[in-house]
Amino acid sequence: MRAGEVLFGVVTGLLINEASDISPWLARRLVAWAAFRRYSDPQWASTRAQELIALIDERPGKLFKLLTALGFAASAQAFDVKCRLLAWLDMTNFDQLSFIGKPFPTDRILWAWKPHWIRLTSPAAVGLAGTFALGSLSGYLDGTDLGGFWLSLCITAWLGVQGVFIRSFLRWRRPPILITDDSFAIVESRKAQVWSLNEVESVTARQSRVGRILNYGTVDIRLKSGEAIQVKSVPAPWLVEEYLVGNVMLEVRALVKTRMERNTVAQTE
């Protein structure tokens, strides 16, 4: 055995020994961190942190303590990421609508529609077809002498196709119609056009046969100024009609007014 190998063995042994000595300490820190990451209520997180520290002390084996703690930490981090992702995708979370720059006289958004998933079918089909076609082409080019340039081009084109799908998805998750207690907005990309509800002349919801089965349709909004607005792929389009010109809006307005009055009374008291 060479001297280098002996030295390596000694150093590795020392490192493992040191690592296992700090493992319990590190494990306790990790589970406490995981508890505060996992639970939003600080009091409950503190209780759980103490409990998990006691659990780590019960768990035999220094390195096993660390592995258990890593499990808790990974799980807490995954939970946090999941929550953030769901909040990001949740269109009823009004914080996500800040991109339109608060165009409303009030910030009370009562309803927000996200386009129906049918809008994603075309980009998804293009993405799949592109993947299939470019994958086949890459396979063919790989077996020929045409060189790496064309192969690189294929991969770039494939990334472009995927980019188109991702862009469509990001656009899809934004609501095309927002209704507040006294106005409505049509959102396209990062631009929003806002009208007062009083400007609405009529609203018509149309559904094709497929739309009736899959619960989506087109909404035609005619304003008193004569302007016509058409919004496609709206889920449950009759609800827009009902909200914009039906009795629902009157009831909602009355409810908002009552709540505001109640809040004002509560604040003055």
Binding site: Q50, E51, A54, L55, D57, E58, T68, G71, S75
Partner: protein, 123 residues
């Protein structure tokens, strides 16, 4: 009384451990449950969160850890509602035979629970 949102295999495992502990008059904490249920820590604590939220179990701290220098542990026990519902759930999902093999006796436990509650025992 509410019920845990999702009935999963880890949830049934944890209930089985808690029922067995109740049957044997033992106290169980997180690490014991993990060992006996043969489930990972995050899985067990996810289940405990749900059970505690549904008020099927309650947690309590021991006054002092019997081993010197160690922090106190948090123990878990089934509430009367959790005991009845947990047993019913296990019988429905895993059958009475497996339940008996695991050490808990549904009918006897329910009867004994009735007696204990009638006697005013609050475990």
């Amino acid at each position: 009384m509410t019920s845990p949102a999702r009935i999963t295999q880890p949830l049934l495992d944890v209930i089985e451990v808690l029922l067995t502990a109740w049957q044997n008059d033992e106290e169980v904490h997180g690490w014991t449950i993990m060992k006996q249920a043969k489930r990972s820590g995050p899985t067990v604590y996810g289940v405990l969160d749900r059970l505690e939220g549904a008020e099927w179990i309650s947690g309590y701290w021991e006054a002092q850890n019997p081993e010197v220098g160690r922090p106190p542990r948090r123990f878990y026990r089934l509430t009367p509602n959790g005991l009845a519902s947990g047993q019913q759930l296990l019988i429905e999902r895993r059958g009475a035979r497996r339940g008996r093999a695991a050490g808990w006796k549904p009918v006897a436990t329910l009867r004994s629970l009735g007696c204990r509650l009638a006697d005013g025992e609050t475990r």
